[in-house]
């Protein structure tokens, strides 16, 4: 079995309103000194195939669905489990 972990985040310099409002909530809970909060999305996909196929499949998924290249950067990690 293969485990593909796809992490999608906003590119550097792109506003993250969700992160900002989470930071505000944390400050209201009394956490001091927070410089920034960023929200990332992670998709964990389990699939029966070899690592190379898995990697290609994850790349295709990213291209077709998970990422809008205008605002997102991503990272793919594939491991056998």
């Amino acid at each position: 079995m293969l485990k593909a972990t796809i992490t999608v985040k906003l590119k550097e310099g792109i506003d993250d309103p969700e992160g900002k409002s989470i930071r505000r909530s944390l400050e209201l809970l009394g956490f001091d000194g927070i410089a920034e909060v960023k929200v990332v999305k992670q998709y964990v996909i389990y699939v029966n195939c070899n690592p190379e196929e898995g990697k290609n499949m994850a790349e295709e998924m990213v291209k077709k669905l998970f990422v809008n290249p205008v605002i997102h950067s991503y990272d793919i990690r594939v491991e056998e489990i």
Binding site: K64, N68, V70, I71
Partner: protein, 256 residues
């Protein structure tokens, strides 16, 4: 004028849109993506992608709808757009057109998205009436007054693109409606409800036949849709003029 109103799991503005087209004199038809097959779209005069929460807005608003259209009938959509027939997306439909790469379409159809409709600056679902200024006459706007009011209802409507693309959009004159404040000055929040760059609310592709708009014209079709309808009598709702523009344009093109 046959209009294909595309549906999928989670679209929810198709009925209002259907009524708007019907009242204007067109022949709208629902077309569910599961029933869509190759060669089907060709026989229609227009494609309309309604608002809603297709696929529950998971991953990104409009991303799943766009990916499924691309997988199923991408060539037909490209042919449709290149034939010059109108394609319009409202709200979630606008997000789909952006994800498909049909908009902004500064240099024709793009393989990958050229822009994004991102999470609103407020990080909230913004649902209220907004003021809009018409900045271009297109087949979707030519019969509309210069200032109109329409309702917005979205969480991801902030128009974003790189500076290069924004410059191209502006140089090409592709912005059709911009958010304005009630006194027609530059809008701060909440009059620009999402933080869109250059207050962009609606754009058209460079050829002029693909149109995306965040506010909902179908929700302001009848005079009594407007919140001040008892105090401020109108012949038609402000959204009516978008449908009327299209109807006139298509009929004129057909009779030529």
């Amino acid at each position: 004028m046959r209009v294909a109103i595309l549906q999928m799991e989670g679209t929810n503005c198709e009925e209002e849109s259907y009524i708007a087209f019907k009242e204007t004199g067109a022949n709208p038809e629902y077309l569910h993506i599961n029933n869509l097959t190759e060669g089907m779209l060709e026989s229609y005069d227009m494609i309309f992608i309604p608002g809603g929460f297709s696929a529950g807005d998971y991953i990104r608003a409009g991303a799943v709808f766009a990916a499924r259209l691309k997988a199923k009938v991408w060539k037909d959509i490209v042919d449709f757009v290149e034939s010059g027939k109108p394609v319009m997306g409202v709200c979630n439909g606008f997000q789909v057109l952006i994800e498909l790469g049909l908009l902004p379409g500064t240099d024709g159809i793009s393989e990958v998205p050229q822009a994004a409709l991102m999470t609103n600056n407020s990080n909230r679902f913004e649902c209220r009436w907004v003021h809009l200024k018409k900045t271009k006459d297109t087949m979707f706007s030519r019969d509309a007054p210069n200032k109109i009011m329409l309702p917005v209802a979205h969480a991801e409507g902030k128009f974003f693109a790189t500076q290069d693309i924004i410059k191209k959009i502006e140089d090409n004159g592709q912005v059709v409606f911009r958010y304005i404040s009630p006194d027609a000055t530059e809008p701060e929040y909440p009059w620009n409800p999402n933080g869109s760059i250059n207050d962009i609310a609606a754009i058209v592709n460079s050829y002029g036949n693909v149109f995306g708009i965040m506010p909902h014209p179908e929700r302001a079709y009848f005079p009594f849709h407007h919140p001040d309808w008892t105090r401020n009598p109108r012949d038609k709702g402000d959204g009516y003029y978008i449908f009327k523009s299209l109807f006139n344009q298509i009929n004129e093109a057909k009779s030529r």
